[in-house]
Symmetry: C2
Subunit: 394 residues, 2 copies
């Protein structure tokens, strides 16, 4: 029995499409915004609240759960979805991004999205991981203990964590790495993809988990296309688009990849969540995205409105008794004033992070739902233009 | 039009009673556990969650809201209940307890409940407040600025904060203060009660707020009875029982007071929330109680079960995949395992405090609801014995 299925229900212009991913824990209407629940919980937000704001999918981090509380404990709990009391579709990432965070990016100011004028890697820390052909050795950020991750271990850990959709083990490189290194890493990632597939097929004989291969290649068109073609020919259930980008041409890089990937499998743009980037990703054929930015912003007082993000710590909001947002349908936005939320943030009340996260997640979920509607109704250009004009004007 | 009303619907043995307090924002079935929302929010818990666990009343702290964000800002927001999006009945305290915290208790290890063998005040800090006949001068714990509180100011501030039920300004003394000082403070508190009533009647000509007088008198029977008699003769809508007690004879002290207070007005035991004390309070004629302990405990990993509180940081719970509590009807207790909650506490996830608080508040609300049922069904002794035997056996 096939437990996963992806159906494209409507095609937009270019590579854009709307569809449905069937999983053992329910259907996902795509494009969809995937919420990040790093350690088997979305910070400050209950699963009930996630349901209430129409969240479809939760993604947990393999690296974090492996270290704490440990994948075997999570397996004994029935997998991370049951552990956290979330009965909808789920994903775990491969741990590859943490290799980047602990390695190439550690102690530096490099993010996975580079601005066009960045050319040098400024580092002031030591790398916490070493990569070799077989896998990665890394130091725990919690207690400094040494650990080993390989494609096989990643599959075993993700099997224990028990998400519906999982990712092949990959190396996420720095956007500033030269072509030569990107190519070397890419070829290794492809070999790791084969090994991930093999170990996954041994473990998951009943097709309980869909395995996504992760396309890398940094900012280079030849490498991105090569990676998409190579992985696209393997027997994956879907694809992640990982790694680093130029801020200015992320959409272009996504198009390179999606022109090569098989059309009939879902595509997840990993770790990207800026509204502008989401429009570019959907236009260029992506179906899923996850990002911690909306919840991280929320914990720091940056809340989304159709007129762009507002910083509740700004003194102007102390006495602004108007609702946070009456336009998007956000319950938090309607029920709480800017002055109240500003009070909670200034008083460092934990409820601030909770209400803010619920609002920002709602905002992102509805933004992407709106993209889906616009695709289905062939009103994409209008939807995009209306949204971007207001959101980025400020 | 009278907007407040208290009806005793059933009498138990001794001073115990069940009743209904009518307020402009709905009825309160008593006895009832009042939840503390210090700065116009219950830490980590949304008003929607409070409704969901049948919380009837929220109490905010006058001292805290006066300092941050300021009572005038809260007035402009329409009062603290509207500010925090809570549409049920509400209270604010008088600020008198903070006078105690900043004064007699500051920098010492004295709590308002003394064990029988405590006789000395150990102090290692300076008092942050000075009391005189007219009122109190105190230093803000936030920025060190100087402030002045008088009975009149307390009424004005509480008028601005806009709760349904408010308290006369009082001095909460140390349980270790001698009779002579207790008597002096008590007489001052009675004069402050008269002044509070006068200012309240000037402000609240439409009876929007019910004013409760606060009985003091420490551990001394003569003073407790004197205070109850004196305040009971004044035109208050209800009474708070404040101040300090001996742990061992709190119920006795409460009985002294309630034997003197008029029977037909509600009585609120201020800041007491230990289950054993609640049984003693209800048996001896109290109708309301508030306490931060259940939520404070919850934030530190101490969660309530019928077999007593359990500390989720205890290593035994790391691998305990049984639900936290399947007996009381707590949704959190049923939906989350001890191992999961232990993981959240160990990972310092803010969701731990939220789920724990919802559970502990539910536990207290249902415990007191159970007391009400037991009074109505004349099964008090059985209910009390069954609960206390399990809860305190461990």
């Amino acid at each position: 029995m096939k437990k996963f299925n992806f159906t494209i229900t409507h095609k937009g212009s270019g590579l854009a499409r709307a569809g449905v991913i069937e999983t053992p824990h329910g259907d996902i209407q795509t494009p969809a915004f995937v919420v990040v629940g790093t350690k088997a919980n979305v910070k400050g937000v209950t699963p009930e609240m996630l349901k209430d704001i129409d969240v479809q999918v939760v993604l947990a981090n393999t690296y974090h759960l492996y270290l704490q509380p440990g994948d075997e404990l999570v397996r004994d709990a029935g997998g991370f979805p049951k552990f956290m009391n979330w009965d909808g579709p789920t994903m775990t990432d491969s741990g590859g991004f943490q290799v980047f965070s602990l390695g190439a990016a550690f102690g530096s100011k490099v993010s996975k999205v580079a601005k066009g004028d960045e050319t040098e890697v400024v580092k002031d820390g030591q790398q916490l991981c070493q990569i070799d052909e077989d896998g990665v050795t890394f130091k725990s950020h919690i207690d400094g203990s040494m650990h080993r991750m390989t494609p096989e271990r990643s599959m075993e850990i993700q099997w224990n964590l028990g998400a519906d959709m999982i990712f092949a083990f990959d190396e996420c490189t720095s956007p500033l790495a030269p072509h030569e290194y990107q190519k070397e890493a890419l070829e290794r990632t492809h070999r790791w993809a084969e090994r991930s597939l093999k170990r996954h097929n041994e473990l998951d004989q009943d097709n309980m988990q869909a395995l996504f291969g992760v396309v890398q290649g940094g900012r280079f068109e030849d490498l991105r296309r090569l990676s998409a073609k190579t992985l696209g020919a393997m027997d994956f259930d879907g694809f992640g688009i990982g790694g680093s980008f130029n801020k200015e041409d992320m959409a272009t890089a996504v198009a390179w990849v999606n022109e090569e990937l098989p059309e009939d499998k879902p595509r997840h743009l990993l770790g990207i969540g800026e509204p502008l980037d989401l429009f570019g990703a959907v236009e260029n054929g992506c179906d899923l995205f996850d990002c911690v930015t909306p919840t991280r912003h929320a914990r720091h007082g940056l809340l989304y409105t159709l007129d762009g993000p507002i910083n509740l710590m700004n003194s102007t909001y102390k006495t602004d008794h108007s609702p946070l947002d009456e336009e998007t349908g956000s319950k938090v936005g309607k029920q709480y004033t800017k002055a109240y939320l500003a009070h909670l943030y200034r008083s460092k009340e934990m409820l601030a992070g909770t209400l803010g996260s619920v609002h920002n997640i709602y905002f992102m979920v509805k933004l992407v739902e709106g993209m889906r509607e616009a695709l289905l109704n062939d009103t994409w250009d209008q939807y995009k233009e209306t949204f971007l004009e207001r959101f980025y004007k400020k």
